[in-house]
Amino acid sequence: MQLNSFPYIFLFLPISIAGFFLAQRISVSLAKGWLLLSALVFYATQSPKYLPLLLGSILLNFFVSRAFRNAPDSRRVLLTGIIGNLVILCVFKYAHFLVDNCNLLLGTHFHIPAMSFPAGVSFFTIQQIMYLVDRSEGLVDHLNLFDHAIFVAFFPYVLMGPIVRAGQVMPQLAKSFAARWNTENASRAVFIFLIGLFKKVVLADTFGRWANLGFGYPDRLAFLDAWLAAIAFAFQLYFDFSGYCDMAVGSALLINVQLPQNFDAPFRAQGIIEFWRRWHITLTDFITTYLYTPMVRSFRKLTFWKAMMATLLAMTIAGLWHGAAWTYVVFGLLHGAALVLNNYVRRRKKVPSPLVSRIATGLFLIFAFVVFRAPDLARAGSILHSMVLPARLFDPSPYDVIDSTDRIVGAAWMLFGVVISVAGPSSTDLQTRFTPNRRMLAFATVTALFAILYMNSMVSLGFVYRDF
């Protein structure tokens, strides 16, 4: 059950929200219990066999957090907690990557059985690392087991974020347990949810279909096909993930919890520094606060180049966080290098014009996303080669399977997607501007109709970030 599925929208969400407000009338504990039950049921529909892993991770971090109470050396407790979380990540996400590279490097023949990927493991693990760090610094209070479990497993964000801090969300949840159904929030929630749904099922999946066809033939792409595939993937990723985040924000707002926005028109960025302030904002917050800042603080004397080294390292780790493959490491490295360059240019005060900055940023992003999407570095190289040093200009073969009507409809949606992401209002703008009036009603109705139509067309692809 995904956020863009009929069972979630017409069954799970209404039942869990209605149940929450009904339970709340009886007691706060019952409402908490209902919310936790909903969260666990939701997780179980995604990754049933890894429900014990989620519960185990919650228990581990709960006990580590409790250990801060009486521990004379909070650093040791924190280190234990971080190592515990990293072990979970290594076992369930990076084991194959580590063993394969070990075998390659040392000529060994270690083998570990294939296993499926636990949904949301990267997200709920770093969210709890952030919680432990905040606990060690006394920024948040210890949560009881019930609250801790709700904080981690809350269904709108457990699978793919936004990555939230306990200090951000727990006070809101505490208020929410006492607050009544708020129609103003609900209408805003439905509105933002519909925008997210439209982004995912209409735009992201349309771009995704074209991207998948192109990336399915990385060695055979001609110049224009390679560019089409690369651009299609960049926009697929944006609409896919920002669509998910809008749906998550909308779902949480129904019970009066405002989650942070994760995207703010990133394709309008005039540099990589600005891009990361607009793209996956909650991850940027994690990288800056929990990776980069501690590294910088550890230097006795901070220089520009030391700070840049920390940037490069933090971005490489962020790249690896996305997935267990060298493509993600290189993706992180590329972004780290671009951030260094961007900082250097700013320092020298030789900033190019906004138009040039925007074009250069856009081109860099398209190239970097090719590395991100390609199955391996060799095939990423093939596509990049076709984009830069093409053997042929155009070869329609990868896109032959798309019906002619679908091509026209798809091209129209893609053009629309490119225009609104570059020049149109962002979800944040739309959410801020939202007032219940006829114009918004018409907009929401049309958005909903297209979304329902596409949902019933079985062309939906899985969320890209679900595998991270």
Partner: protein, 323 residues
């Protein structure tokens, strides 16, 4: 407008517009699902797999006596009146065995057919990968309103207005154009030269999942007591000769899937040279030209009449003592 008013109006507007759209789609009923389909004449519009799959629910069981499954190689065989039976051609462009088995079993579960034909080109067993995710029960809901339905509706309207005809007739037969005979022989020779070498694309490999799908289809036919007739479509003689060993191995591997009651016709045997010798019967190495498809249909008609007559006689013999 209050927030409460906004929410109610939004829900009402969505419900109303979805209701109207669904009502219109049910009334048009392009796939013959929502009312009595007997006597209706429907064509394939839009996405072929989606359409033919949905036809297997009601339209085919209520209107046809026999079905033919296969790939694009058999898609232009005019099957409409094979052995006097109303026959529908369920062949798919690029169709593989897993897809054919889905169509066949779905139709067999819902109707009483007198014969099930399978055109078994080696391509169908080479891979088990389906070209779309459209052939699943959830597609039934798509008939109430989906992109595939609106693409089909658009194609239907163009067809009705005479602007763009459907490439299929009402028997599911794909109406290919015929290449000119002069270049045809060259195309066929080129194809033969290409496929004859070990590096040629025709591997004759059999995918285990595809083979399992064939077995399941045969089992479904037996379960529903429907005579099962399979045939390997003819290839140009020069191509047969170039791939003789691999072709023989393929045919014998496939034949092992059939039971004693099934019929398997190999149109690449010497007695069918009258089909395979003539370049004009082929579009290239695999697909039949329209005259070739017509000749094969004629041959199938004769064979099928004989098969059904023998079965009829055997059934009568079995039934006689009971009377």
């Amino acid at each position: 407008m209050t927030s409460r008013g906004f929410l109610w109006r939004l829900l009402a507007a969505i419900a109303l517009l979805v209701g109207v759209a669904v009502g219109l789609n049910v009334w048009m009923d392009l796939y013959g699902l929502f009312r009595n389909a007997a006597g209706r004449s429907l064509k394939v519009y839009g996405e072929e797999r989606n359409c033919k799959y949905l036809f297997t629910y009601r339209y085919l069981p209520e209107n046809f006596d026999a079905l033919m499954l296969g790939s694009s190689v058999s898609e232009n065989i005019p099957v409409d009146r094979l052995a006097g039976l109303r026959t529908y051609n369920l062949s798919l462009s690029g169709g593989v065995m897993t897809e054919a088995a889905k169509l066949g079993t779905n139709a067999l579960q819902r109707g009483h057919f007198k014969v099930l034909l399978l055109s078994l080109h080696r391509y169908m067993l080479e891979s088990a990968e389906e070209k779309t995710n459209f052939m699943v029960p959830e597609r039934y809901w798509g008939a109430f309103g989906s992109m595939q339905l609106y693409t089909a509706s658009f194609a239907y309207l163009l067809d009705r207005a005479g602007i763009r005809r459907s490439p299929f007739d009402e028997y599911g037969v794909q109406l290919y154009g015929l290449a000119t005979p002069t270049t045809q022989s060259e195309i066929v020779r080129d194809a033969a030269a290409f496929h004859s070498g070990q590096s040629g694309r025709w591997s004759f490999k059999i995918n285990p999942r595809a083979y399992h799908a064939l077995e399941e289809l045969i089992h479904a036919a037996h379960e529903h007591n429907v005579p099962f007739v399979a045939f390997t479509p003819p290839m140009p003689t020069i191509l047969q000769e170039a791939t003789a060993k691999r072709l023989a191995d393929f045919d014998s591997a496939v034949a092992a899937a059939f039971g004693p009651q099934d019929v398997f016709i190999e149109f690449n045997r010497p007695e069918y040279r009258f089909l395979s010798d003539d370049f004009a019967n082929f579009r290239e190495g695999a697909h039949l030209s329209d005259p070739g498809a017509r000749k094969l249909a004629g041959e199938l008609d004769t064979l099928l009449r004989g098969i059904l007559a023998r079965r009829g006689a055997a059934a009568a013999e079995l039934a006689a003592p009971a009377r």
